[in-house]
């Protein structure tokens, strides 16, 4: 399908933009909804994983004999049970995954590369028994020195995680063994010469800690296998089709044998776009010939899944007195965790995307360390990049004595500008967002004592990718819409709204379903802020075909040409000689389906190559206790271009949720490791995510600059809101205390240190 042109925002909507009760809501407020850990099957075994107690170690020998002899133990797998596979890329949503690394992350082979790395797994008749058996597995380790920071990874004599693996990317690349897995670079113009023409130059290093997605539901799966090789996988995932292909590649199975049913998903934020347990449970199930359930503990979630990269980013900005940017330069170091594949690439593409820089230069490094392998986290890489660039912009505004929004307005990208990462921007809403922020009462409100106000902006590409949808009409005139995208935050409602809008039936009469990999057409995963945009477009297309069917059926009933039947407001209306007929509703036509050609059903698929980027501008007021360095968020406002909000409540929810995650990352959340590389805070007690009393109401302004690539003008909204907060909160704290902060999270001791350093 080609990308339809937008209706330019002139279309009058009946259902789009309303706020119906979400269709899956009832089951979720009554406890009926089934999440990953909620399935139990007859004869089911329980799996547990033995994890490495070392951050870096060679696995010399694994002896499972004692464990296997324990009562109730039915199967054990280790790395040796996984097939050998070669390297090579596979697409996984927004990122590329090396199947060999994917497999080695799921179950260590040869080396344990982080504390918590899976070494072996047991299936037994109870979870407790499986855990007890894990303790009886004897592993002989040769403990190696761990690499626990970017600095250590880049040191001359650094221990090497992946011996013999060469760096790839843009030269110059390191020779020989290295922990740098990839180097990217890009430049435009003569940066050094341009800096000399600048009136104000600011630069600094900005560090952010590894942070976890923090979904409340731990990873969980139940796998059943059959003698003919078939496997049924139930799991909590953002992408059932992705699970299918990733399980197939890691186990070298024919994907046709695998069926994946997504459970309700208790949060993902990118962290459930990859797999951890599924192939393990599958192998255990094959060995034991019984269904196997595996559920991670919270500690396992922290130690061995997620997080996103810790980063060290240096940024330099040159500005003229009038506020125009003349040059920018950056070096970005990303912790990939134990295997290559940090979101450094996206960071290099987003870092300069929001502004026109006549000259820029950038370098990005993907660096392995003995920490958990990072997974996608909401706009992967972009918050880290924005933290650096949006902070130096704020500092430049201070030095120029200029309003920080004015400075951004002066340099903001607009329609027709060429983005730093290549393409020319179509219609975008950055300027509109900046203006809305500037005019917001929050921006004009007076500040109290010890308070500071920060502003920050953010950009995210959003993605299109492949989606399909099926719409069918029931004999009572109600409809069903099926897609393959797990509903992570209200997408069932937006799919139903779309069908209701197109066909003209009440939204309550549309039942939105999320299917498994055998019952719905292929859909790329729920991620990249793509579902309402891309899957929504497939639903629009399918609905349009259904309307064609409905018109044809009306024509059959009336005995006229199809061209004489118009579809308006959910009714077939006769024109040109058929106008004497009483209009037919969907229900009227559905009632007669059996006499007019049979069931009415239509499918459609889309594969939009682009999505229409999202921009957001955040405003934050903080209050800092000058004696303790403790920061309180006093007020927060999110402005974002949604293109067109299909269900405004869930758009606002995305904006608020993204801001909250960013605030947590800025102020409280961090991965703490001891000197041996053991995570010290693998629980919600000390991995400090925001709680209800930490946050104020989060005001939202939904700007609607229609996306020309979507019939309604929809833009993805899920990821952009986590991009600005790191810098926004950082800028607020820096302005409150009068000294620039360079490290996240801005814990009370760090802020107090900064205050006291300023005092001297």
């Amino acid at each position: 399908m080609s990308n339809p042109k937008s209706d330019g925002g002139e279309r009058k909507y009946k259902v789009v933009g309303t706020r119906p009760i979400r269709h899956d809501g009832l089951d979720k407020v009554t406890g009926r909804a089934n999440y990953g850990a909620d399935l139990a099957l007859p004869g089911m075994l329980h799996g547990a994983i033995l994890r490495s107690p070392h951050a870096h170690a060679r696995i010399k020998k694994i002896d499972v004999s004692k464990a296997l002899a324990m009562p109730g133990v039915k199967a054990i797998v280790t790395g040796a049970d996984f097939p050998e596979i070669g390297s090579g890329g596979m697409a996984a949503g927004e990122s590329h995954i090396d199947p060999k690394d994917l497999q080695a992350n799921i179950m260590a082979r040869g080396k344990a590369l982080y504390h918590g790395h899976a070494i072996a797994a047991v299936a037994a008749t109870s979870v407790e028994q499986a855990r007890e058996a894990c303790k009886m597995i004897a592993v002989d380790y040769e403990v190696l020195k761990p690499v626990l920071s970017l600095e250590q990874a880049l040191a001359k004599d650094a221990p090497i995680l992946h011996e013999g693996r060469k760096a790839v990317g843009v030269p110059p690349l390191p020779e020989g063994d290295t922990n740098i897995m990839m180097r990217l670079a890009n430049a435009k113009g003569d940066v050094d010469a341009a800096f000399k023409t600048a009136d104000v130059v600011v630069e600094g290093w900005y560090e952010a800690s590894m942070a976890h997605q923090g979904y409340i539901e731990p990873h969980a799966t139940v796998v059943t296998t059959r003698e003919n090789g078939q496997a049924e996988i139930w799991c909590s995932t953002q992408g059932p089709f992705a699970v299918k292909s990733m399980v197939a590649v890691t186990l070298q199975l024919d994907p046709n044998l695998i069926r994946v049913t997504p459970s309700e998903i208790g949060g993902g934020f990118g962290g459930k776009t990859t797999i951890y347990l599924e192939p393990v449970a599958l192998l255990l199930s094959q060995k034991a010939r019984r269904p196997v359930k595996m559920v991670m503990s919270r500690e396992e979630v922290f130690r061995a899944t997620g997080p996103t990269s810790g980063t060290r980013i240096w940024a330099k900005l040159g500005v003229k007195k009038d506020g125009s940017f003349v040059a920018a330069d950056t070096r970005m170091e990303f912790e990939a965790g134990a295997f290559a594949g940090s979101p450094m690439g996206a960071a290099t593409m987003t870092v300069f995307a929001s502004y026109n820089f006549p000259n820029f230069r950038l370098e990005g490094l993907d660096i392995v360390v003995n920490k958990p392998k990072v997974a996608a986290y909401r706009a992967p890489g972009a918050p880290n990049a924005a933290y650096a660039i949006e902070t130096v912009i704020d500092e430049a505004a201070e030095k120029l004595g200029m309003d920080p929004i004015e400075l951004r307005l002066k340099n903001a990208v607009k329609e027709g500008d060429v983005a730093s990462y290549g393409p020319k921007f179509d219609r975008i809403g950055f300027v509109e967002c900046l203006q809305a922020a500037k005019n917001h009462p929050h921006y004009k409100a007076p500040l109290g004592k010890n308070q500071g106000r920060g502003v920050g902006a953010g950009f995210w590409f959003n993605v299109g990718l492949q989606s399909s949808a099926t719409v069918s009409i029931n004999d009572d005139g109600s409809a069903v819409v099926r897609t393959g995208n797990p509903d992570i935050g209200g997408s069932r409602a937006s799919m139903a709204i779309t069908v209701a809008e197109e066909i003209g039936i009440p939204v309550e009469r549309v039942r939105p379903l999320v299917g498994d990999t055998d019952t719905v057409g292929y859909c790329d995963l729920t991620g990249g802020s793509r579902v309402t945009y891309a899957t929504g477009m497939a639903v629009i297309e399918a609905s349009k075909i259904v309307i064609e069917h409905l018109r044809a059926r009306a024509a059959t009933i009336w005995g006229c040409e199809v061209d004489a039947v118009e579809w308006r407001d959910g009714q077939a209306i006769g024109t040109n000689g058929a106008s004497d007929n009483k209009p037919l509703t969907v229900a009227d036509i559905a009632k007669q389906m059996g006499h007019t050609g049979g069931p009415i059903i239509a499918s459609a698929s889309v594969n939009p190559p682009a999505a229409g980027p999202g921009f957001g501008v955040h405003i934050c007021d903080v209050e800092v206790d000058p004696e303790t360095g403790r920061t309180t968020v006093a007020r927060y406002t999110v402005v974002q271009d949604a293109g067109k909000a299909v269900h405004p409540s869930y758009v606002e929810g995305q904006l608020q949720g993204g801001a909250a995650q960013g605030i947590g990352w800025a102020l409280w959340e961090e991965y703490l490791f001891d000197k041996d590389g053991k995570m010290e805070n693998p629980g919600f007690l000390d991995y400090r995510m925001p709680v209800a009393s930490d946050l104020p109401m989060i005001d939202t302004v939904v700007v609607e600059v229609p996306n020309p690539l979507h019939p309604y003008g929809v833009r993805g909204v899920g990821e952009t809101p986590i991009v600005p907060p790191l810098a926004t909160v950082g800028n607020a704290v820096s302005r409150a205390i009068g000294v620039r902060m360079h490290q996240l999270p801005m814990t009370p001791p760090r802020v107090l240190d900064a205050i006291e350093t300023k005092k001297g």
């Binding site: 109870s126 407790e128 028994q129 007890e132 500690e299 004696e627 303790t628 403790r630 309180t632 102020l667 409280w668 703490l672 010290e680 805070n681 629980g683 919600f684 007690l685 000390d686 400090r688 925001p690 709680v691 009393s693 930490d694 814990t747 009370p748 001791p749 107090l752």
Partner: protein, 288 residues
């Protein structure tokens, strides 16, 4: 895995017998530390001795002499008691700070004390108020000042077979009150980086006649700081007196570096909070 024995005795004597008979037996009250430790650190008791069915341990009695609170009374029942909030506002607040609302439906003073974390919120407040623990054991009952229960992180002075039955808190004098504050990065749900409890008694003219200043999370146990108390006695908690008390608190603090705070930061905050808490206790005492 074998099922662990669970016992729910109805009287103190039966509980003592169960605890004395098996060194691996553990008192189960709120379970908010015990069950977490079983799960995370694999410390599985041989017998759970659930003391919540012993009437005396779930009783709450207030009279002119003070409060007698059963050791198994959950935090929520304590701070929701209006009379307790009036008489010991600091102790009530400290109790209200133990974990979430859910945790407060389970957690007890006795558990907070016997878990022996140096950062327990209710402990500095209990010590400031002069609370005594009534301990039952194979040799009968004994009364122990709360500050003598903890001997180090995870360690108590309780002998095998002993457990806390109830707490006695003397009624405050006419112009006396208390306060407790802690420093945490978030607003809730964190473990104290520093906690300070202060109880003050004033004369009719507003001069401090008695003071107890207790620091939490800055030493192996909660510590009484007599030098800080001495700095407040004889004053009206003017800035200079508060400053001296704060300095005494910093001097007395012997914290460690850990994931929740550094030595230097904890020492500084000991002073900041001591001043703030002493001032709050003073204002409250004056208003009584």
């Amino acid at each position: 895995m074998e099922s662990v024995r669970y016992e729910a005795p109805n009287d103190v004597e039966a509980a003592v017998r169960l605890l004395a008979a098996d060194a691996g037996a553990k008192v189960l009250s709120g379970g908010t530390d015990l069950i977490v430790q079983m799960r995370i650190m694999n410390r599985v008791p041989t017998v759970f001795v659930d003391v919540k069915r012993i009437p005396r341990l779930s009783a709450l009695a207030l009279d002119a002499k003070g409060l007698r609170a059963g050791a198994a009374v959950p935090a929520a029942r304590i701070y929701e008691n209006e009379a307790i909030r009036q008489l010991w506002p600091g102790l009530a607040e400290a109790t209200d700070l133990i974990g979430s609302s859910q945790i407060q439906g389970r957690a007890t003073w006795a558990g907070n004390l016997c878990n022996a974390s140096p950062a327990a919120d209710s402990v500095p407040a209990l010590i400031a108020c002069g609370a005594t623990a009534v301990v039952a054991g194979p040799k009968g009952e004994r009364r122990v000042p709360v500050e003598q229960i903890n001997t180090g992180p995870g360690k108590t002075s309780l002998a095998p077979g002993e457990f806390i039955v109830e707490f006695e808190i003397p009624a405050p004098a006419p112009h006396a009150s208390d306060a407790y504050q802690r420093l945490i990065p978030r607003s809730e749900m964190d473990i104290a980086v520093v906690g300070v409890g202060v109880a003050l008694t004033l004369d009719a003219g507003g001069v401090v006649t008695a003071a107890r200043v207790v620091l939490g999370a800055v030493a192996p146990t909660a510590i009484l700081v007599p030098e800080a108390a001495a700095a407040l006695v004889g004053t009206k908690c003017e800035e200079a007196a508060l400053e001296r008390a704060g300095q005494a608190a910093t001097a007395a603090a012997k914290p460690i570096d850990d994931r929740r705070g550094t030595v230097a930061y904890r020492k500084k905050i000991s002073a900041v909070l001591t001043k703030r808490v002493a001032k709050q206790a003073y204002e409250r005492a004056k208003a009584r």
